[in-house]
Amino acid sequence: MSGMNVPATIDQIFILFTDWVAHFFPAAIRPIVGVVLGVIGIISVFPGLFALTTVFERKGLGRMQNRYGPNRVGPFGFFQPVADGIKALTKEDVVPFRADGVLHFLAPVVLLAAVFMGFAILPVGRNMVLVDMDAGLLFFFAMGASTELSVFMAGWSSRNKYSLLGAMRAVAQMISYEIPLLLSSVVVIMVAGTLSLPKIVEAQAGYTGIWPHWYVFTPWGLAAFLMFGIAATSETNRSPFDLPEGESELVAGYFTEYSGFKFAIFFIAEYLAMFSMSGIATTLFLGGWSAPLSFLNVLPSWFWFFSKVMCFIFIFIWVRGTLPRLRQDQLMNFAWKFVLPFTLLDLFVTALWRFMGEGWARWIVCSAILIAAYVAMGRVGMFRKNFAHRRYRYAE
């Protein structure tokens, strides 16, 4: 095996490892062994990333707020998730007396199952996807829709008015932002011509010179990327859209009545949903596992995928540390009056892009339409709010 391509080997190292292990088993069950190894990989990597992300988030938010994050447990506080895990596991599991026991137990289980399923179609590297489905993207959104049901189950089974309110708000928010989420991914499907995620990545894996063909570098792609980002932030109940679980509002919203490990499961599910949304956004707009510049393909494809996902996570944390929380009606207004119309316009612009054919004309026309629409909608939105000077009246 001399003269073998080292970067290509490192790139495919997990596939080679899976094949090597599968050879120990009889030929009949080799596919199952391959799938099981893939599942084990997903279950070990993504929760591990989750643990790392919780520390990064707390330390990152701390630094943005001019303070240290946790720095007691382990070097620079990086064993904090271990302490959190031990705490979650040893806390008493409180189930309210009149709560619906079966639903109360099932809600976190259903949520975690639905969120884990979303990782099955994610192309983590070249040839590294657990299940290559023709309708992969549709599968992902179907799993995302299933999470809403478990949120509702959690809120209702707690037999607590405030949990129920939080659950209703969360479900309303998730439903409202699901349409922009789907529509912004439809533009990618329109241009790539396929619902299968590995094929979408391959469509973006080309280079002109050293510049990549990522969809985010096109006008419609950038607009869709921004709208997808906003909708993804809202789908996972993440600041600034985290009113349903706002820590200073409805205590913890729909998971107020959960303690111990079930609470930890909700937490894990939220962060894993964040990872899978980031993964899909990377696949659809940022070129998946392809490197940013053509000569950087030396580094393995899974390295690039995870770097992009972690960039996304950092942006999520950054936005959380910057923006105040949106009120429920402001959230819904934003979805239906800004994000949705803009996404519909983006659909039209993408169709125009394909219709106009190759050349620089389509860049100018599409960019002009999108920028004009953005500025116009912004002006219209701001026009209705009269930011008059506040007059204070004091009690005499």
């Binding site: 990152g60 630094r63 943005m64 303070r67 240290y68 910057t322 923006l323 912004g378 701001m382």
Partner: protein
Amino acid sequence: MLGEGIIKGMLETAKNFAGSYVSKERLTTVQYPEEREALPEASRNFPILIYDGPEWEAGLRCVACQICEKECPPKCILIEKSADKKPDAVGKPQFYPTRFDIDIAVCMSCQICVEVCPFEAIKMDKEFELATDDRFGGLLHDRHQLAKSNEYYHQIHPVEAAEVDARLAEERAAAAAKSKAAAEAAAAKAAAAKAGAEKPAPPAGGGA
């Protein structure tokens, strides 16, 4: 334009994030318990009893007048007066407390006991790390635990201790001067009486 404020905000937080690693003025966190901030001079927590001199029992300023016990709003002080008297720092025989308990779980740090003490015997300490796992007696401080030397008092409240010392010295000087004047007057009277006894006796009813 829409989104301008968000971009500005995010740049600000980015500046905070990056700046917190390079400039020390941004991170004002005091890493307790390795570092401790100095408490201000006038901060107070729970009372202590002051003693002068090397020995705590002999030099205790408290004379068990029980004014602080009566004035304490939550009644956290318990004093038992002695039966005998012992000389205090200036030599005058005074009562002393055989028992002086303060329950710091009850004490509300109002400083009224300090304000009413005529003998500058009870002052406020700044010590706050008093947590204990002995929940039945650990928070009941007795006479020995409460007694702290005057040097310690100077250490924690330098300005206040200096004022107290000056005042006490003044009082003692005034007391000493008064007693000296009284002694001189008595001596002068005795000398005058003696001189009057040596001379031919004036009409009867002179010295006694």
